[in-house]
Symmetry: C2
Subunit: 103 residues, 2 copies
Amino acid sequence: MDIQLKRGLLDVCVLAAIKNEDSYGYKIIKDMKPYIEMSESTLYTILKRLELAGMLTVRTSEHDGRLRKYYHITNAGLGRIQDFKNEWREVMCIYQFVTKEDK
Amino acid sequence: MDIQLKRGLLDVCVLAAIKNEDSYGYKIIKDMKPYIEMSESTLYTILKRLELAGMLTVRTSEHDGRLRKYYHITNAGLGRIQDFKNEWREVMCIYQFVTKEDK
DNA sequence: TGATATACATCGTATCACGAAGTATTGTTG
DNA sequence: CAACAATACTTCGTGATACGATGTATATCA
């Protein structure tokens, strides 16, 4: 998928991936794989960015002697998803503009 | 509109704006304004990029004593629009993933 | 005369996705 | 047991790119 097109989707995809239950990096990548692929470096960068922006909170917890960082969405994060939904109307107008056939 | 979301749309919007008839910078911005806004510096950068990529050709012509650069879409440019259309299926899947409500 | 519209160009900056590489631990399998 | 894959997270450098600021011209109009 076109990398530029991804840019507008990745952040909100990550938020969607933790919307229903807290999750951690490795799992997020696997859960999103059927929809959109991203490298680990990309994901962890995004998670840090979203944390800084207050869209999610982090909690470190041990699992099988290994540390895992669980991410939890905040109200701001849910709001971000809502904003995305609202903006989608504009996006669809643009899509129409680009793909409309002309006689 | 979110700048990251725009990134995936601008190139193909510009191509769409010259799809039916050759156009020039200033007019392209005005034609696209109802759908998507962009600064002049952005537009001219994009036009140069698309030309380099063989998606359009340029012809300079005088109009009222002033030079205008007319842009004409190539087959590669039309192909780019088609690719965008094809990719849109994936985009809609992602949209569903992000916005689906969960019981 | 001064503002506004038309028309294009250049430069520096900030954002961001990615590959490469690294660190650790836990299976798994030959 | 040795080698490798899977799990889990981190850091660094790079390239792409949208934008604001700024500059250059000419035409029109009040």
